[in-house]
Protein backbone atom coordinates (compact mmCIF):
# COMPACT_ATOMS: atom_id res chain seq x y z
CA UNK A 1 0.00 0.00 0.00
CA UNK A 2 2.79 2.38 0.79
CA UNK A 3 3.85 2.16 -2.85
CA UNK A 4 0.68 3.71 -4.17
CA UNK A 5 0.97 6.47 -1.57
CA UNK A 6 4.63 7.09 -2.24
CA UNK A 7 4.52 7.58 -5.96
CA UNK A 8 3.28 10.71 -7.64
CA UNK A 9 2.03 8.47 -10.42
CA UNK A 10 1.37 4.88 -9.23
CA UNK A 11 0.51 3.66 -12.75
CA UNK A 12 3.88 4.86 -14.01
CA UNK A 13 5.59 3.17 -11.04
CA UNK A 14 3.96 -0.16 -11.97
CA UNK A 15 5.07 0.26 -15.58
CA UNK A 16 8.64 0.97 -14.43
CA UNK A 17 8.72 -2.08 -12.15
CA UNK A 18 7.50 -4.25 -15.06
CA UNK A 19 10.03 -2.81 -17.49
CA UNK A 20 12.88 -3.12 -14.94
CA UNK A 21 11.97 -6.78 -14.39
CA UNK A 22 11.93 -7.43 -18.15
CA UNK A 23 15.30 -5.74 -18.72
CA UNK A 24 16.82 -7.50 -15.71
CA UNK A 25 15.68 -10.85 -17.07
CA UNK A 26 17.33 -10.20 -20.43
CA UNK A 27 20.53 -9.12 -18.68
CA UNK A 28 20.50 -12.17 -16.38
CA UNK A 29 20.56 -14.48 -19.42
CA UNK A 30 23.91 -13.11 -20.55
CA UNK A 31 25.70 -13.01 -17.18
CA UNK A 32 26.35 -15.19 -14.16
CA UNK A 33 26.31 -12.52 -11.45
CA UNK A 34 23.60 -10.03 -10.45
CA UNK A 35 23.74 -6.52 -11.90
CA UNK A 36 25.13 -4.18 -9.23
CA UNK A 37 24.11 -0.53 -9.41
CA UNK A 38 25.67 1.97 -7.00
CA UNK A 39 23.58 4.88 -5.82
CA UNK A 40 26.28 7.41 -4.99
CA UNK A 41 24.22 9.75 -2.82
CA UNK A 42 23.05 9.10 0.74
CA UNK A 43 19.72 10.76 -0.05
CA UNK A 44 19.09 8.05 -2.64
CA UNK A 45 20.14 5.36 -0.15
CA UNK A 46 17.57 6.68 2.29
CA UNK A 47 14.79 6.64 -0.34
CA UNK A 48 15.66 3.11 -1.46
CA UNK A 49 15.32 1.76 2.10
CA UNK A 50 12.47 4.04 3.15
CA UNK A 51 10.26 2.85 0.30
CA UNK A 52 11.52 -0.74 0.29
CA UNK A 53 12.34 -0.47 -3.42
CA UNK A 54 14.64 -3.49 -3.23
CA UNK A 55 11.68 -5.70 -2.23
CA UNK A 56 9.95 -4.97 -5.51
CA UNK A 57 12.99 -5.56 -7.71
CA UNK A 58 14.19 -8.88 -9.13
CA UNK A 59 16.96 -10.73 -7.22
CA UNK A 60 19.24 -10.20 -10.18
CA UNK A 61 19.60 -6.51 -9.27
CA UNK A 62 21.70 -5.39 -6.31
CA UNK A 63 22.22 -1.90 -4.94
CA UNK A 64 25.66 -0.93 -3.67
CA UNK A 65 25.33 2.03 -1.30
CA UNK A 66 27.97 4.56 -2.25
CA UNK A 67 30.12 7.07 -0.36
CA UNK A 68 27.93 10.15 -0.92
CA UNK A 69 26.93 10.84 2.67
CA UNK A 70 29.36 13.44 4.06
CA UNK A 71 28.73 12.50 7.67
CA UNK A 72 29.38 8.83 6.93
CA UNK A 73 32.86 9.38 5.51
CA UNK A 74 33.94 11.82 8.24
CA UNK A 75 37.13 10.34 9.73
CA UNK A 76 37.49 10.02 13.50
CA UNK A 77 40.57 12.25 13.55
CA UNK A 78 38.63 15.15 12.10
CA UNK A 79 36.00 14.92 14.87
CA UNK A 80 38.89 14.99 17.36
CA UNK A 81 40.24 18.15 15.62
CA UNK A 82 36.83 19.80 15.98
CA UNK A 83 36.63 18.83 19.66
CA UNK A 84 40.15 20.16 20.29
CA UNK A 85 39.05 23.55 18.89
CA UNK A 86 35.75 23.51 20.76
CA UNK A 87 37.52 22.98 24.09
CA UNK A 88 39.30 26.33 23.78
CA UNK A 89 37.49 28.78 26.06
CA UNK A 90 37.52 31.53 23.41
CA UNK A 91 35.87 29.34 20.74
CA UNK A 92 32.23 28.68 19.83
CA UNK A 93 32.25 25.71 17.46
CA UNK A 94 29.32 25.60 15.04
CA UNK A 95 28.28 22.81 12.71
CA UNK A 96 25.30 21.03 11.11
CA UNK A 97 23.21 18.85 13.43
CA UNK A 98 24.12 15.75 11.41
CA UNK A 99 27.71 15.90 12.62
CA UNK A 100 26.92 15.93 16.33
CA UNK A 101 26.67 12.19 16.96
CA UNK A 102 29.55 10.95 14.80
CA UNK A 103 32.02 9.16 17.07
CA UNK A 104 35.63 10.32 17.17
CA UNK A 105 38.40 8.68 19.19
CA UNK A 106 37.61 11.14 22.01
CA UNK A 107 33.84 10.75 21.75
CA UNK A 108 31.34 12.81 19.74
CA UNK A 109 30.70 16.55 19.56
CA UNK A 110 27.52 15.91 21.51
CA UNK A 111 29.54 14.37 24.34
CA UNK A 112 32.08 17.20 24.18
CA UNK A 113 29.21 19.68 24.51
CA UNK A 114 27.82 17.81 27.53
CA UNK A 115 31.32 18.07 29.03
CA UNK A 116 31.21 21.86 28.75
CA UNK A 117 32.50 22.82 25.29
CA UNK A 118 30.47 25.54 23.56
CA UNK A 119 29.22 23.72 20.46
CA UNK A 120 26.16 24.95 18.58
CA UNK A 121 24.17 23.45 15.77
CA UNK A 122 23.45 25.78 12.90
CA UNK A 123 21.18 25.37 9.92
CA UNK A 124 23.42 27.44 7.65
CA UNK A 125 26.98 28.82 7.59
CA UNK A 126 25.23 32.21 7.39
CA UNK A 127 23.95 31.55 10.92
CA UNK A 128 27.51 30.86 12.09
CA UNK A 129 28.53 34.20 10.59
CA UNK A 130 25.64 35.88 12.41
CA UNK A 131 26.96 34.42 15.69
CA UNK A 132 30.33 36.00 14.86
CA UNK A 133 28.66 39.41 14.39
CA UNK A 134 26.81 39.07 17.69
CA UNK A 135 29.79 37.76 19.70
CA UNK A 136 32.76 39.95 18.75
CA UNK A 137 34.70 38.78 21.83
CA UNK A 138 34.47 35.09 20.85
CA UNK A 139 36.04 33.10 18.02
CA UNK A 140 33.37 31.44 15.87
CA UNK A 141 34.63 28.34 14.08
CA UNK A 142 32.36 26.72 11.50
CA UNK A 143 33.08 22.99 11.05
CA UNK A 144 32.26 22.93 7.34
CA UNK A 145 31.03 19.61 5.96
CA UNK A 146 29.63 18.32 2.74
CA UNK A 147 30.20 17.64 -0.93
CA UNK A 148 29.84 20.04 -3.84
CA UNK A 149 26.21 20.65 -2.80
CA UNK A 150 27.15 22.63 0.33
CA UNK A 151 30.74 23.69 -0.49
CA UNK A 152 29.56 26.78 -2.45
CA UNK A 153 27.52 27.97 0.56
CA UNK A 154 30.59 27.94 2.78
CA UNK A 155 32.67 29.65 0.08
CA UNK A 156 30.06 32.40 -0.30
CA UNK A 157 29.98 32.83 3.49
CA UNK A 158 33.76 33.34 3.58
CA UNK A 159 33.48 35.95 0.82
CA UNK A 160 30.71 37.66 2.76
CA UNK A 161 32.81 37.66 5.97
CA UNK A 162 35.75 39.15 4.04
CA UNK A 163 33.54 41.88 2.52
CA UNK A 164 32.20 42.81 5.94
CA UNK A 165 35.65 42.70 7.55
CA UNK A 166 34.53 40.13 10.15
CA UNK A 167 37.66 38.97 11.99
CA UNK A 168 36.38 36.40 14.48
CA UNK A 169 35.04 33.86 11.97
CA UNK A 170 36.96 30.87 10.59
CA UNK A 171 36.46 27.43 9.07
CA UNK A 172 37.53 23.95 9.97
CA UNK A 173 37.14 22.91 6.36
CA UNK A 174 36.07 19.32 5.69
CA UNK A 175 34.46 19.85 2.30
CA UNK A 176 35.06 16.92 -0.01
CA UNK A 177 34.60 16.18 -3.69
CA UNK A 178 32.69 13.30 -5.24
CA UNK A 179 34.47 13.25 -8.62
CA UNK A 180 37.99 12.16 -7.45
CA UNK A 181 36.33 9.72 -5.07
CA UNK A 182 34.42 8.00 -7.86
CA UNK A 183 37.66 7.75 -9.80
CA UNK A 184 39.44 6.20 -6.80
CA UNK A 185 36.65 3.63 -6.44
CA UNK A 186 36.68 2.80 -10.16
CA UNK A 187 40.44 2.31 -10.12
CA UNK A 188 40.17 -0.45 -7.50
CA UNK A 189 40.71 -3.71 -9.40
CA UNK A 190 37.91 -5.61 -7.62
CA UNK A 191 35.30 -2.84 -7.84
CA UNK A 192 32.30 -4.79 -9.06
CA UNK A 193 29.75 -2.09 -9.81
CA UNK A 194 28.12 -2.15 -13.26
CA UNK A 195 26.56 1.31 -13.33
CA UNK A 196 25.76 4.39 -11.28
CA UNK A 197 22.73 6.32 -10.11
CA UNK A 198 24.39 9.74 -9.93
CA UNK A 199 23.97 12.37 -7.18
CA UNK A 200 21.32 14.90 -8.24
CA UNK A 201 22.16 17.79 -5.97
CA UNK A 202 25.92 17.52 -6.42
CA UNK A 203 25.30 17.59 -10.18
CA UNK A 204 23.02 20.62 -9.72
CA UNK A 205 26.26 22.45 -8.79
CA UNK A 206 28.85 20.62 -10.92
CA UNK A 207 26.73 19.92 -14.00
CA UNK A 208 26.88 16.55 -15.74
CA UNK A 209 30.16 16.95 -17.66
CA UNK A 210 32.57 16.02 -14.81
CA UNK A 211 31.18 12.45 -14.87
CA UNK A 212 31.97 11.76 -18.53
CA UNK A 213 35.11 9.84 -17.51
CA UNK A 214 32.95 7.23 -15.75
CA UNK A 215 31.46 6.34 -19.12
CA UNK A 216 34.40 7.02 -21.44
CA UNK A 217 37.32 5.65 -19.36
CA UNK A 218 35.58 3.10 -17.14
CA UNK A 219 32.69 2.10 -19.43
CA UNK A 220 29.95 2.34 -16.81
CA UNK A 221 26.55 3.99 -17.35
CA UNK A 222 26.00 7.05 -15.13
CA UNK A 223 22.48 8.47 -14.72
CA UNK A 224 22.05 11.65 -12.66
CA UNK A 225 18.89 11.10 -10.60
CA UNK A 226 16.26 12.99 -8.62
CA UNK A 227 15.19 11.99 -5.12
CA UNK A 228 11.66 10.68 -5.40
CA UNK A 229 11.06 6.93 -5.53
CA UNK A 230 9.88 7.35 -9.14
CA UNK A 231 13.09 9.20 -10.05
CA UNK A 232 15.18 6.34 -8.69
CA UNK A 233 13.18 3.67 -10.53
CA UNK A 234 13.37 5.61 -13.77
CA UNK A 235 17.13 6.15 -13.36
CA UNK A 236 17.67 2.48 -12.55
CA UNK A 237 15.81 1.54 -15.73
CA UNK A 238 17.98 3.99 -17.73
CA UNK A 239 21.12 2.31 -16.34
CA UNK A 240 19.79 -1.18 -17.12
CA UNK A 241 18.82 -0.20 -20.67
CA UNK A 242 22.32 1.10 -21.32
CA UNK A 243 23.75 -2.17 -20.01
CA UNK A 244 21.33 -4.14 -22.17
CA UNK A 245 22.42 -2.18 -25.24
CA UNK A 246 26.09 -2.54 -24.29
CA UNK A 247 26.43 1.23 -23.90
CA UNK A 248 27.99 3.53 -21.31
CA UNK A 249 26.81 7.15 -21.33
CA UNK A 250 26.10 9.98 -18.92
CA UNK A 251 22.37 10.67 -18.85
CA UNK A 252 20.38 13.21 -16.87
CA UNK A 253 17.09 12.00 -15.39
CA UNK A 254 16.90 15.07 -13.10
CA UNK A 255 16.96 17.74 -15.82
CA UNK A 256 14.23 19.68 -14.00
CA UNK A 257 16.89 20.71 -11.45
CA UNK A 258 20.25 19.82 -13.04
CA UNK A 259 21.49 21.92 -15.99
CA UNK A 260 24.30 20.23 -17.97
CA UNK A 261 26.68 23.08 -17.10
CA UNK A 262 25.74 23.14 -13.38
CA UNK A 263 25.51 26.39 -11.43
CA UNK A 264 28.13 28.85 -12.75
CA UNK A 265 27.91 31.24 -9.77
CA UNK A 266 28.40 28.40 -7.28
CA UNK A 267 31.34 26.97 -9.24
CA UNK A 268 32.95 30.42 -9.50
CA UNK A 269 32.70 30.90 -5.70
CA UNK A 270 34.29 27.49 -5.12
CA UNK A 271 37.17 28.27 -7.49
CA UNK A 272 37.74 31.64 -5.86
CA UNK A 273 37.86 30.33 -2.30
CA UNK A 274 39.16 26.74 -2.35
CA UNK A 275 42.05 24.68 -3.60
CA UNK A 276 42.34 20.89 -3.33
CA UNK A 277 44.35 19.31 -0.54
CA UNK A 278 47.08 16.92 -1.64
CA UNK A 279 45.56 14.19 0.55
CA UNK A 280 42.29 13.80 2.41
CA UNK A 281 41.37 10.96 4.77
CA UNK A 282 37.95 9.33 4.38
CA UNK A 283 36.37 7.08 6.94
CA UNK A 284 36.35 3.58 5.51
CA UNK A 285 38.11 4.48 2.27
CA UNK A 286 41.59 5.54 3.39
CA UNK A 287 43.32 8.54 1.86
CA UNK A 288 42.25 9.87 -1.54
CA UNK A 289 44.47 12.40 -3.31
CA UNK A 290 42.94 15.78 -4.24
CA UNK A 291 39.53 14.77 -2.86
CA UNK A 292 39.27 17.44 -0.18
CA UNK A 293 39.12 21.23 -0.21
CA UNK A 294 41.03 23.79 1.81
CA UNK A 295 41.06 27.58 1.71
CA UNK A 296 43.40 29.26 -0.75
CA UNK A 297 46.27 31.23 0.87
CA UNK A 298 44.40 34.49 0.11
CA UNK A 299 41.80 33.46 2.69
CA UNK A 300 44.27 32.15 5.29
CA UNK A 301 42.80 34.48 7.92
CA UNK A 302 39.59 32.42 7.76
CA UNK A 303 41.35 29.06 8.12
CA UNK A 304 40.90 27.74 11.67
CA UNK A 305 43.72 25.22 11.19
CA UNK A 306 46.21 28.07 10.64
CA UNK A 307 44.59 30.50 13.01
CA UNK A 308 44.81 28.10 15.98
CA UNK A 309 47.93 26.23 14.77
CA UNK A 310 45.95 22.98 14.84
CA UNK A 311 47.90 19.75 14.54
CA UNK A 312 45.52 17.42 12.68
CA UNK A 313 44.75 14.08 14.37
CA UNK A 314 44.93 10.84 12.46
CA UNK A 315 43.05 7.89 13.91
CA UNK A 316 42.62 4.43 12.41
CA UNK A 317 39.02 3.34 11.71
CA UNK A 318 37.57 0.91 14.28
CA UNK A 319 38.78 -2.55 13.31
CA UNK A 320 35.61 -4.45 14.20
CA UNK A 321 33.34 -2.58 11.76
CA UNK A 322 33.62 -3.13 8.01
CA UNK A 323 32.49 0.36 6.94
CA UNK A 324 34.91 0.46 4.00
CA UNK A 325 33.56 -2.77 2.54
CA UNK A 326 30.00 -1.43 2.80
CA UNK A 327 30.99 1.92 1.24
CA UNK A 328 32.62 0.26 -1.74
CA UNK A 329 29.72 -2.15 -2.27
CA UNK A 330 31.73 -5.28 -1.37
CA UNK A 331 29.28 -6.33 1.35
CA UNK A 332 25.75 -5.42 2.35
CA UNK A 333 25.40 -3.62 5.71
CA UNK A 334 23.93 -6.74 7.33
CA UNK A 335 27.05 -8.77 6.44
CA UNK A 336 29.18 -6.65 8.81
CA UNK A 337 29.75 -8.52 12.08
CA UNK A 338 29.10 -5.35 14.09
CA UNK A 339 25.75 -4.52 12.38
CA UNK A 340 22.90 -4.38 14.89
CA UNK A 341 25.10 -5.81 17.64
CA UNK A 342 28.04 -3.57 18.60
CA UNK A 343 26.88 -0.91 16.14
CA UNK A 344 23.35 0.51 16.27
CA UNK A 345 21.87 3.98 15.63
CA UNK A 346 21.75 4.59 19.41
CA UNK A 347 25.38 3.56 19.89
CA UNK A 348 27.09 3.84 16.52
CA UNK A 349 30.55 2.39 16.05
CA UNK A 350 30.87 3.47 12.43
CA UNK A 351 29.53 6.66 10.90
CA UNK A 352 27.32 4.80 8.41
CA UNK A 353 25.13 4.02 11.42
CA UNK A 354 24.82 7.70 12.44
CA UNK A 355 23.07 9.56 9.66
CA UNK A 356 19.66 8.56 8.30
CA UNK A 357 21.37 8.79 4.90
CA UNK A 358 24.01 6.26 5.94
CA UNK A 359 23.54 2.81 4.41
CA UNK A 360 23.69 1.04 7.78
CA UNK A 361 21.30 3.35 9.65
CA UNK A 362 18.81 3.27 6.77
CA UNK A 363 19.10 -0.51 6.57
CA UNK A 364 18.71 -0.86 10.36
CA UNK A 365 15.70 1.47 10.52
CA UNK A 366 13.74 -0.11 7.71
CA UNK A 367 14.97 -3.69 7.49
CA UNK A 368 16.76 -4.16 10.80
CA UNK A 369 14.18 -6.19 12.65
CA UNK A 370 14.05 -8.98 10.12
CA UNK A 371 17.78 -8.96 9.35
CA UNK A 372 19.29 -9.16 12.83
CA UNK A 373 16.83 -11.66 14.28
Amino acid sequence: MRFSEAFRDPALAEKLFTEIARTAETLARSRKTPVTVMEVCGGHTHTIFRYGLKDRLPDTIEFAHGPGCPVCVLPMGRIDDAIALARRPDVILTTFGDAMRVPGAQGSLLQARAAGADIRMVYSPLDALELARKNPDREIVFFALGFETTAPSTALTVLRAAREGIQNFSLLCQHILIVPTLRALLEQPDFAVDGFIGPGHVAMVTGTHPYEFVASTFHRPFVVAGFEPLDILQSLLMVLRQLEAGQARVENQYARVVPPEGNPAALAAMRQVYETRPDTAWRGLGTIAFSGLQLRPTWAAFDAERRFALTPHTVADPASARCGDVLTGRIRPTACPAFGRDCTPDAPLGALMVSSEGACAACYDYEGARQVA
Binding site: L110, R120, Y123, P125, T150, S153, R256
Partner: protein, 100 residues
Protein backbone atom coordinates in the same frame (compact mmCIF):
# COMPACT_ATOMS: atom_id res chain seq x y z
CA UNK B 1 21.95 18.84 4.56
CA UNK B 2 21.86 17.44 1.03
CA UNK B 3 18.17 17.10 0.20
CA UNK B 4 17.27 20.77 0.00
CA UNK B 5 13.91 22.27 0.76
CA UNK B 6 11.59 24.12 -1.63
CA UNK B 7 10.82 27.72 -0.67
CA UNK B 8 8.96 30.64 -2.24
CA UNK B 9 10.73 33.99 -2.43
CA UNK B 10 8.47 36.58 -0.78
CA UNK B 11 10.68 39.65 -0.83
CA UNK B 12 14.17 41.08 -1.18
CA UNK B 13 15.79 41.73 2.21
CA UNK B 14 18.98 43.40 0.96
CA UNK B 15 19.64 43.51 -2.79
CA UNK B 16 23.28 44.62 -2.44
CA UNK B 17 23.97 41.73 -0.07
CA UNK B 18 22.04 39.24 -2.29
CA UNK B 19 19.66 38.35 0.55
CA UNK B 20 16.02 37.49 -0.04
CA UNK B 21 13.24 36.52 2.30
CA UNK B 22 11.61 33.15 1.76
CA UNK B 23 8.66 31.31 3.14
CA UNK B 24 9.02 27.60 3.76
CA UNK B 25 5.79 26.07 4.88
CA UNK B 26 5.03 29.13 7.02
CA UNK B 27 8.57 29.55 8.38
CA UNK B 28 10.29 32.73 7.23
CA UNK B 29 14.00 33.29 6.92
CA UNK B 30 16.63 35.08 4.90
CA UNK B 31 18.49 33.13 2.24
CA UNK B 32 21.40 33.99 -0.03
CA UNK B 33 20.21 34.16 -3.66
CA UNK B 34 23.49 34.84 -5.48
CA UNK B 35 23.43 31.41 -7.16
CA UNK B 36 19.96 31.95 -8.67
CA UNK B 37 20.11 35.70 -9.34
CA UNK B 38 19.05 36.65 -12.87
CA UNK B 39 22.20 38.04 -14.56
CA UNK B 40 20.62 40.95 -16.43
CA UNK B 41 17.55 41.77 -14.39
CA UNK B 42 16.77 43.30 -11.00
CA UNK B 43 16.71 40.91 -8.04
CA UNK B 44 13.04 41.81 -7.50
CA UNK B 45 12.24 39.62 -10.50
CA UNK B 46 12.79 36.64 -8.19
CA UNK B 47 9.83 37.55 -5.99
CA UNK B 48 7.12 34.90 -6.24
CA UNK B 49 9.41 32.27 -7.72
CA UNK B 50 10.23 28.93 -6.11
CA UNK B 51 13.75 27.83 -5.29
CA UNK B 52 15.46 24.82 -3.78
CA UNK B 53 17.26 25.95 -0.62
CA UNK B 54 20.31 24.11 0.71
CA UNK B 55 21.69 25.25 4.10
CA UNK B 56 20.40 28.80 3.65
CA UNK B 57 21.35 29.25 -0.01
CA UNK B 58 18.96 29.12 -2.95
CA UNK B 59 20.72 26.78 -5.36
CA UNK B 60 18.18 26.16 -8.13
CA UNK B 61 14.96 27.66 -9.44
CA UNK B 62 12.15 25.13 -9.66
CA UNK B 63 8.56 25.14 -10.85
CA UNK B 64 5.69 25.46 -8.41
CA UNK B 65 4.30 21.94 -9.08
CA UNK B 66 7.79 20.53 -8.55
CA UNK B 67 8.12 22.49 -5.30
CA UNK B 68 4.76 21.33 -3.97
CA UNK B 69 5.42 17.69 -4.86
CA UNK B 70 8.82 17.81 -3.14
CA UNK B 71 7.33 19.42 -0.02
CA UNK B 72 4.69 16.68 0.12
CA UNK B 73 7.37 14.01 -0.18
CA UNK B 74 9.55 15.59 2.53
CA UNK B 75 6.51 15.78 4.81
CA UNK B 76 5.73 12.13 4.18
CA UNK B 77 9.30 11.09 4.90
CA UNK B 78 9.19 13.04 8.17
CA UNK B 79 12.00 15.30 7.04
CA UNK B 80 10.05 18.52 6.63
CA UNK B 81 9.56 18.95 10.37
CA UNK B 82 13.22 18.24 11.09
CA UNK B 83 14.38 20.80 8.52
CA UNK B 84 11.97 23.51 9.73
CA UNK B 85 13.01 22.94 13.36
CA UNK B 86 16.67 23.25 12.36
CA UNK B 87 15.89 26.55 10.58
CA UNK B 88 14.19 27.95 13.68
CA UNK B 89 16.54 26.70 16.42
CA UNK B 90 19.76 27.54 14.61
CA UNK B 91 22.71 28.76 16.66
CA UNK B 92 21.11 28.33 20.07
CA UNK B 93 23.38 27.05 22.78
CA UNK B 94 22.29 23.56 23.80
CA UNK B 95 19.51 23.31 21.18
CA UNK B 96 17.86 19.92 21.15
CA UNK B 97 16.84 19.45 17.52
CA UNK B 98 18.21 16.62 15.40
CA UNK B 99 19.54 14.90 18.48
CA UNK B 100 17.26 12.50 20.22
Amino acid sequence: MCLGIPARITGIADAAAMLAEVDVHGVRREVDVLCVAPPDAPLEDLIGSWVLVHVGFAMSRISEPEARATLALLAEMGELHEELTAMQDTGKAGGSHAVQ
